[in-house]
């Protein structure tokens, strides 16, 4: 009885967050058709193996990580994973609702930028800027340390800022002065 109730609760939770899960799958794959298929397989797997869900874990984090793991698992079985992971610009633009021949206001620059990023970087941006996850939670979903998440954000943000044409003369690895209070500066230096 309790298991059935838990099953219903997970299913209802998944239904409630379906658009977010779909967006995650679409952004990960880089296009909507394969994203839909990936999500379908992931949902089936989540419901079939829901005993792996640990009570107390936020359901959205668990669901995102299940989608990501399934995608990674399937990608590794491909003969040419790098080719498979590459998103097509036009397909990616369709994620914004731009159907064939349809005029939809799409931020082409940002869409093109996201489409050309590696899937893991796209999803890092989505989890932090789209879902509001902190670096630790985003890292848990993508099986990466928080430092890696932070590094991806910096790289992507700086790169997009450069593209926006507002780049400055500041070199990317400039020295840091007087911003860290005593002690934190030492800590920062040690971590460099």
């Amino acid at each position: 009885m309790q298991a059935k109730s838990s099953h219903d609760s997970i299913r209802h939770g998944l239904i409630t967050m379906l658009p977010r899960l779909k967006r995650f799958a679409d952004v990960l794959v880089g296009e909507t058709r394969d994203g839909t298929a990936l999500l379908g397989r992931a949902l089936r797997r989540m419901l079939a193996e829901q005993n792996r869900y640990q009570r107390g874990t936020p359901l959205d984090r668990w669901a995102f990580s299940e989608i990501y793991r399934l995608w990674l698992h399937e990608l590794r079985e491909q003969p040419d994973p790098m080719r498979q992971a590459k998103a097509d610009d036009k397909s990616f633009e369709r994620l914004f609702g731009a159907a064939e021949g349809e005029a939809v206001a799409v931020d082409v620059l940002t869409a093109g930028f996201l489409g050309n990023l590696p899937p893991q970087q796209r999803c890092t941006l989505l989890l932090v800027y789209g879902e509001g996850f902190d670096h630790e939670d985003a890292g848990r979903v993508l099986d990466s340390p928080p430092d890696t998440v932070a590094a991806r954000l910096i790289r992507a943000s700086a790169s997009l800022a450069d593209r926006l044409g507002a780049s400055t003369q500041v070199p990317p690895s400039a020295t840091i002065e007087m911003l860290y209070p005593k002690g934190q500066q030492d800590h920062h230096d040690r971590t460099q």
């Binding site: 658009p19 789209g130 879902e131 997009l160 780049s167 400055t168």
Partner: protein, 320 residues
């Protein structure tokens, strides 16, 4: 010019810095136009990324049409939806997005044609165990039988022609009523069960020792070869022949059940017998009766007891 890394500036734009660090960056921004431009570019990049992900989410939402009243009802019925952190300036828009998202999340799998398979995946009926097929039920029913079920207070149904006639009436003229005496199984009786709307005949045989053997028959489809399957301690062999599906079941090993199944399959079908002689009016005959409906099966409506009928008998007993 003060030089600050993108690492620090991105952390500033993302609100990841401590208050003291934030104040220090702001002091630099006020004095250094180049750094301020860089921060503005990073803020724009940040804003564009947020807007892009919102647009993708809105695109998922816009794939279906939402009736306002239904959306509100769905929102009330659904669990609270966790909104993404929204900045103060975006609170109103954020609330709208949350409402639409929650509403669509509730009805989306029910309305979006492309996502029919998600509806299949996520609807409760898919989560329940599949309904067992009739031959699984039949095998379970067989597991409930013992020698005592047939030995105590039963008389044989010796009028095989009459039984064959009634079987043909219920299932079809091609149904078999095999003679398994050479294999050591004496025919004891037949009973008509029901699997949903379909009649299901059970022919019961008793060996000299051990437990009884059942041959179930019901309407089938395409012809198929015998296939063995173990259901608990009951072995079954299933096959289809001439539009009739058979299931042989008993606490016997696979080889013996296959041999008996082959014997049944190769036994010529007897010509359909004539109806019973008019001396016994058809209306007076009790219909098929199942004495112990097994789980998942419903017996035919109970008939008035007939003196000559043994409990659970298909037809009145006749002297051998």
């Amino acid at each position: 010019m003060t030089e600050l890394s993108d690492e620090l500036l991105v952390a500033y734009v993302d609100g990841q810095l401590a208050r003291e660090q934030t104040r220090a960056v702001e002091k630099v921004l006020a004095q250094d136009e180049v750094i301020a431009r860089r921060v503005a570019a990073l803020q724009e990049a940040h804003g564009r990324l947020e807007a892009a992900f919102e647009a993708i989410l809105a695109s998922e939402v816009n794939e279906t049409s939402i009736e306002p009243m239904r959306a509100v009802a769905a929102l009330r019925a659904s669990e609270p939806h966790r909104a993404t952190p929204a900045k103060a300036a975006c609170v109103t828009a954020g609330v709208v997005v949350v409402i639409v998202t929650a509403a669509v999340a509730y009805i989306w799998p029910l309305t979006l044609p492309d996502l029919g398979r998600w509806r299949d995946i996520l609807t409760p009926r898919q989560a329940e165990a599949p309904t067992p097929s009739w031959h699984v039920d039949a095998a379970r029913a067989q597991g409930l039988l013992s020698r005592a079920s047939l030995e105590v207070g039963l008389e044989s149904q010796g009028n095989r022609d009459f039984i064959a006639f009634q079987l043909a009436e219920a299932i079809g003229p091609e149904v078999r009523l095999p003679n398994l005496e050479p294999q050591g199984y004496r025919f004891v009786r037949a009973q008509l069960l029901r699997n949903g709307d379909q009649p299901l005949v059970q022919l019961l045989y008793l060996p000299a020792k051990h437990d009884p053997l059942s041959l179930f028959a019901t309407e089938g489809h395409r012809d198929s070869e015998p296939v063995f399957k173990q259901e608990g301690d009951v072995g079954t062999v299933f096959w289809c022949e001439d539009g009739i599906a058979y299931l042989l079941a008993g606490r016997e090993d696979e080889a013996l059940l296959y041999r008996i199944a082959e014997k049944i399959r190769h036994e010529p079908v007897a010509p359909q017998p004539e109806p019973p002689p008019p001396a016994i009016p058809a209306a007076a005959l009790p219909p098929f009766v199942a004495d112990t409906p097994p789980p998942g099966m419903v017996s035919e409506p109970e008939a008035p007891p007939a003196e000559a009928a043994a409990p659970g008998a298909l037809v009145p007993s006749a002297p051998n």
